[in-house]
Every structure is written in structure tokens, then in C-alpha cells.
């Protein structure tokens, strides 16, 4: 169940909007940040808040890379799969990360630390190849840089998945 405080805040925003439907991404983020991912309960709550059908929310939730419909790790590695990054890749950063962590794209490491997701251009082409981890940009990616970054991440504490 959504805490009253969040619900109230969202309802106020929605009431003030001329086209509540426009807020759907914001509302999905709020609920995702609260629950850790957009589970079915959260999805139905989004639908109810915005008077959409669950299907209509699902259409959008599954369209956007940054809405997670399944549980994710503490850190979500959105590894860029965009054209500019391809040009800079002799060795694929995505393959390297997957091998390093022992997961396939879309999977989470068994210790719940990392989820790896390929994504479209993250807007960091000038540092290609790039990736985005919990809202922070990293690049240019080299095997050493990736090793170091993941090592650092393992040691910091962060409870929430932040997407922006």
C-alpha cells in the first residue's frame, strides 16, 4: 500500500494538471522509487490514480527502459547500446560487464547488487562508450574503468534505486 503522504502528494499534483495522463511517467517513477520496482500492485495504483486501465499503464511501463517491472539490484547498469557507442567499441562494454558479473543482459547478480540492461543512447556520446548507473553517467568505458567502478560501487551503501 502506498503511504498516505505520497498518495496525497500525487493526488494534489494530478488534480492540478489539465491533462493528468501526462503525469504518468512521473507517477510511475514515484511508485517505483517507493517500492523498488514497479510491481503489479504499484502498477494498479498508478492506473487508479490517473484513471487509466492497467493495460494502458503497462503499455508505457514496458516501453520505457527506466521503469522496472521486475525486481532489480541495488545498482542498475544501463549500458549504452546506441550508435555512437558502437563506433567506439572494439570490445563490447556490454559483453565485458556481463562476463564480469556472470549474468546475461536483463539479469541481476545473485547477490542482488547489479542489474545489467542495454539501453538506447544515454546522452553521453562525447564520452562514448558510456553507461548510466542509478542516475549517474560513466564513460568512456574501458575494462579497467569498469573494474574500478564496480569495485567502488560494491563498497558504498545506497538503499534506493534512483533513475534520474
Amino acid at each position: 500500500m502506498l503511504p498516505e503522504e505520497i498518495r496525497h502528494r500525487l493526488e494534489t499534483r494530478i488534480a492540478a494538471s489539465a491533462h493528468p495522463r501526462e503525469l504518468v511517467v512521473d507517477v510511475m517513477y514515484e511508485l517505483q522509487n517507493h517500492y523498488g520496482f514497479l510491481n503489479d500492485v504499484a502498477l494498479r495504483e498508478v492506473a487508479e490514480l490517473l484513471q487509466l486501465t492497467p493495460l494502458e499503464v503497462e503499455e508505457l511501463a514496458t516501453f520505457y527502459d527506466f521503469i522496472y517491472r521486475r525486481p532489480v539490484g541495488r545498482f542498475v547498469l544501463h549500458v549504452c547500446d546506441g550508435v555512437v557507442c558502437w563506433m567506439f567499441e572494439e570490445q563490447s562494454a556490454l559483453d565485458y560487464i556481463c562476463k564480469l558479473l556472470g549474468v546475461a543482459p536483463g539479469e541481476t547478480t545473485p547477490d542482488g547488487q547489479f542489474t545489467v540492461l542495454p539501453t538506447v543512447c544515454v546522452g553521453y556520446c562525447d564520452h562514448a562508450p558510456a553507461m548510466l548507473i542509478n542516475g549517474k553517467l560513466y564513460g568512456p568505458l574501458t575494462p579497467e574503468f569498469i573494474d574500478r567502478t564496480l569495485e567502488e560501487l560494491r563498497s558504498i551503501s545506497c538503499d534506493l534505486v534512483l533513475c534520474r
Binding site: L52, T53, P54, L55, E56, E58, E59, T62, F63
Partner: protein, 843 residues
Amino acid sequence: MPYLIIDNRHIQVPRGTTVIDAAERLGIMIPRFCYLKVLGAVGACRMCAVMFEAGPVKGLQMSCMVQAADGMRVSTTHPEAVAFRRQIIEWLMINHPHDCPVCDEGGHCLLQDETISGGHSRRRYTGAKRTYPDQDLGPLVQHEMNRCIQCYRCVRFYQEYAGYRDLGVMGIASRIYYGRFSDGALESPFSGNLIDICPTGVYTDRPSRFLARRWDLQRADSICLHCSLGCNTVAGAHYRAVIRQESRENVRVNGSFICDRGRYGHAYANLAERPRQSRLDGEPAGWREAAREAAARLKRIAAAAGHSAIAVLGSARNSLETQIMLRYLSHHAQWRPPRFFVNGSEARSTAAVVARLDSRLAAGLPDLEEADFLLAVGVDPVNDAPMLALAMRQAARKGAKIVVLDPRPVELPFAFDLLSAGLGDLPAALAVLVKTAVSQAGTDGCEAQEKAFLAALPGRVPDEKLQGQLGQAGGWLAASRRPAIICGSAIAGPELAGLAADLALLLQTGKTPSRLFYLLPGPNAFGAGLLQRGSRYFPSLLQDIEKGGVRALLVVENDPFFRYPDQDRLHSALGKLELLMVLDYLPSRAARAAHIFLPGATVFEAGGSFINNCGLLQYAAPVHEGGIPLAQVSGGSHPPRAHAPAPGSEKCPSAYEALLFLANELAIRPPTMDASPWSLLPEDFPGQAELLAHPYPTDGLQLLPRLSEAESLQTPVNLPTSGPAAGALTVLRVEQTFGSEELSCYAEPLRQLAGPPLALLHGADADRAGVRDGEQLCFEIGGEKVELALQVTNRMAPGQLIIPHHYALGRAACRLPAVVAQAELRGLTGQDSPDLPQAITES
């Protein structure tokens, strides 16, 4: 009018025509997947690429996205275009399964056709294909998502065109998925159209799954008989069963689609319990023998008690040929003129509609789509005539304001204003609304008679809130330029129909020239309305039977027991008859009660003409010979391998043929068989006889007069304002999309969607009566129980108890009281200790 050249052929097309449509006019079908004329172009699939060789557009382009223009030279066979399309189809086939032999779409699949015609016949891709789980979408539509080629037709139809919100597209790229959020029956009553429009086998017809390839079907153009709109279909029969219907385009009626009631309502034609055996006094008899005996008895009765001791009851589901034959027969045999409606109010409403509708006023469904203001009164479109709702939605999508004035909690797949008014208040409320509009728009064009009529209209309704809403809606009407009034006939009486015509005429004198669209009670109610002239209504016939004035009744394709409120009276009256002769294809109660019974033929076997609610005469072709479906004869095993007559294969004569036979036996000059049915009644239809010969134009023949001769705009205006007394609830029996209409309610898949029998009550009435949503109301009538799940809603007019007709309700439901006291309701829930809040009980 742009003039262009396609494949070296010249053509001129209206401005705005796309090149893909221009080519189609030349008979050149450019391959396409996403493009569908009614849905418009999106250019998503890239399959329609052609080469623009000269003119304003150059190079390889999508023909669905380019409008025809002067000087264009287009080649559909240019090597580059052909190569491009071959690659597209190969790419679409990469993930598509290669198992057409087990796919139900095989044989009528656009993807099959275009794979072949696109030149992709050898598979080069050897990798794994992406696969998906399928969903259970309910009893009508089968889902096989692996076959999808991502053309988006389904979503664009389901959400944009039809306005339902439970099927869509999820995921992206190779995870793209078309379906529902989770398993469950599709909510749209238009869901079957997915089957027709999906270019591959993702959605197929579930009830006929794996029964036949389309090429195995006997197919013919048919007309839907499940409401008065007369939507066009193609019906397909296989092994003597009608198994599948598809929509057939008619731009004057249903456009490209049909509703699910129409698509799946045909099961009554295949019923195991369908009567196939003629009976004489309860004993099986040969068809001719029974018919001869009927003629003999009719002669005896006429000799003993006079010709007027014989009466005839047809129906609104009779074909026009049958109705005309009934009229011919009763005229020449000097019997009483035929009646067609058991319900007197339906008979009178239909008479009013037939008298008033003319081509000045009449709007068709396509006109409604173009309207900028729609006022529906006494209509619940999705439940009464589903395709009406789809037409209204198209108007709404183009920005029309839509107002519904009705006691029911009407739901529609678009934004509209529901003005709740009790049944008795509908005429007055309609008058107030239009009066406001005309007064606002000005009465400059009005003559004295119109002014007097306007002045005589009521200006107020007692309910303040409703008055305010009517005023506002009147303003919208005054500001509109292409308004239309939609008037129902199922719950409101003839007064409303007449008033709607008067008000539309009044509006036509001013700046808001309104059109008018009526619904009628039955697929050929219009024909019945034309032919019932001079006859009195069924209740008076019952009286005559009781008094002994009528001794024989010939019932053709009707079941008086179906909904007649006073079942006991009906039973005892029909019991008094010396001869009750029934001819029908339904296993009806009347059929069982008949002294002489003749099995009838359905529209799929007999064909026939039907006049729809707009006065459009259309012809349904026979689809197959009929007979007992082979599956029933063979007990599910392989159909017989030899071409011998199988048991039950005798063809049932159509009602028209049976009546001809009877006429012959009665020595009535038989009409010439090849003449049009209208020529039988030259005195009734002067001038039409020559006009109307089979075959009618495929899109129907408009029968309306230019100007109706009925009196209009008469003052004083007498509007009934019979509200229920305080504390009383008017019981309203209404239609439901599925499970209530006489023919389609036999279809099992539709029964599954009908839900439980309901009673609907306004919140304020529920509070006063001390009953709650979800409680069970139980009426005990003549030892039978009628159980209804109570639904409480504030979206309806107070003072009514709305009970939809429902297949599962027994005969006792016909005898539900017309008025229920609020105070009684609590007792009906079986919980007699009311725990009401004090304040409410006192008020």
C-alpha cells in the same frame, strides 16, 4: 481531381485519395499490412513501397502515405520496389512460425498471400524465433501471439476506433506484445473485428476453431438479424452448420465492422433442439400432410365461423417476402389482417416511425458519424444496437458533443453527457431541450404553425438539476450545424417517436437542420410496420380469442410466450383455439403448444429481404441448404464418406414457400413465383412493384418517401408525464448486449459473456428501501423464483428498477410486476431486519 498514371494506366481520383487507394480503383492491389482505409495510414509496415518515376514525388515511397497528385507516374512493378518488398516480407517472416497447416488463418491469410506474391518462398534465416505465451481472451477470440507481424491494426482499431481500453501493445522491439494486461475476456463488444482485420492468425474465431478452412465453407452475403440496424455479413456454413460470420462492407450501413452479437449470434440455426419435424396434434407427420391438414381445418373453421375467425401473427424477424405473403394470404382468404408484434407498444412505436420517417429527416449510421451534435433519447446504444455506439464514437472523435437522455446507466466508449430522466419524463425532457435550442437559435424561418407548436411545448421539467442540464445541452444544440436526434423504441412508447420527428422538423426550419435516426424492435420491424396497417394490436386479438370470435391462429416465426407479460392469460387464450398453427425454426414454447407445427428455415437457408431501421431494403442470400448438422448426425465421428442423403438432410421450406403451399391448398390464386414480392400487393405499394425486383443493389435500396404524409407539428402537444407515485419504482425491462435478444441468446459463447441476471437501482432508492449493492433480489411468481443480483448505481434515474432481459431468467420473469413498492424491496432480499440509519427511514 488529380490525374495520374499507375502501371501505365491513367486514372483520375478525388483529391485526398492515397496512391494505394487509387491503384485499388484500377484493380491493382498493392501489398499492405498496416494500411486499412477506415483506420487511415500510418506507414508502419513498409510493405506498400512503389516507385514514383515522375511527378511531384520521386523515388521509392510508401503508397499508403502519399496522396495522388497531378502528373504522377507510379510503377508498382519497378525492380527496386519489388526487391524492397521482398526484403520486407522476408524480414517479417523471420520470426513468424512456419506452420500454416495448423493455423486457423491459413487459407484466408493476408500474410500467406503476400509472402507468396512478394516472392519470398525460400527460407534463409536459420536462427531461433522469438516466441510468446498466448492469452485467454475469452470465448470469442483465440490468441496466438507468435504469428504477429507488428502492423498495429488491432490496437488502432480496438483503442482508437472503437474506444475500448483493455487490449493494447506492450514492450518494445523484439519483446513487443499485443494483448491484455492479463488473461480475461475482451471487454469490447466489437472484439470479433480483430479477427477480420489482423492480417495474420494472431486473432482467430474461437467458436469455429479448427472446424473448417475458409475455402471449405459455403459462403454467401447475409444480413444480421440481431437488431434493427441490418449490418452486412458474410456467413459461412460447413457440414450443414453455420459456423462463422465475418463483416461485409457496406458504407451506407455498418461501414467495415459488425458487433459481436451479430458475428456470433447464429448458433440458433444449428441447435440440437431446433425443431425439424412437422407435427400434427402432437404426433410426427409429413410436412405436406401437416400443411394439407392445416388447410383443411382452416377451411372448416372459415365455413363454420366465418373467415374472420382466422387470424395471423407474423413477426419483426420475418423476411419481407414472408410478411408480404402473410398479408396476401389473409387478404385473399379474407382473414383478419396480420399482426406482427405481440407487444402493443412496440407495434404503435413502429407504426409511428414508419409513418414519420422520410428522406428529409432520415439519417443513416454514416450521417451520424459526421454529426457535430448527437442527442440520443430512450436509447442505450451498446445494449440496444451496438454498432450505433461505434458510429457515435466516430462523431465524438471528430469533436461532436454527445448527450444521452435515458433512465438507464448508459455506458459508451467515449465522453458524453448522461442526462438521467425517468421513463415517463423522456418526452417532456426532450421537448424542453429542443425548445431551449430553437428559442436560442431564433425563430426567423418559422411559420405560424411552427411557432404555435414551439409555444405549446413545455419549457420546464420539475427536476431542477435536469432542467439545468437540459438548458446547457439546448445551448450546444443551438450552436451545432449538423445535429441529429437518435430515438429508441424499446422502452419509450410511440409518443416519443412522434415527438422526435416533430422536433427534428422544427429544427429543420431553423439554423440547426437536424436529422433523425430511429431504432426499431427487430430486423424487419420496418417491414412489419408497413404491412400491419389496418390491423389492431395483439392484446385485442387475445380478447377476440377469449370471446370466441377468433378460432384459429396462424403464427409464423414468432413466439408470443417469449415476453408476453400475462403468461397465464396467453396460455388459457391459446388453449381455447380450435387451431393453433405454428411455423418456426426456434424451439419455442408456442411451437410446443401448437396443434399443427411446421419447422421453418432460418435466413441462412431461406435468404430473404429485410428493411432496416432507416428504411433500407437489403437482401440476404441463402448460404446453404440446411438440414441437421452433420456433427449431430454422426455423433462427432467422421462425416459420411459416401454421397448418400444423410438423415435429417431434407431441406425445410421457407416460411414463404410454406405459405404459398397453403395458399394453393386453399385455392387462393397463387402469385407468380418470379414476381417481386411487392407486386403481390399492388394496392398497398403502388409504383413500387416495378422498382423492386431481385436482386436489389448490393448496398440496399432506400424505400423512404421524400415527404411523409403524416400530420406533423400538431398543437396542442400532449406529452405524458406519468411518473411513478411516490415510493413506487417503475420496473423497466431492457435489452442487454448479450444474452437477451431472441435469436442470439441461444449462442453459448455469448451466454458466457452475459453475466448473471441483474436488477439496477438508484442509490437514493436503495438507501430508502434499505437494500445494498450485491444483495440478491428474489421474486416469487406463480411458484417460480426470479433471482436477480442487485446493482446500486447513481448513474441512473431514480424511481426505476431496471431489469435487463436475460436468457437464464425463466418464464416467470415475463410476469414481473410493472411497479414495485420501495417498501417491498427489503423483503425481496430475504433479510427482513432492516438496519437502516434512523434519518433515512424517517424521510
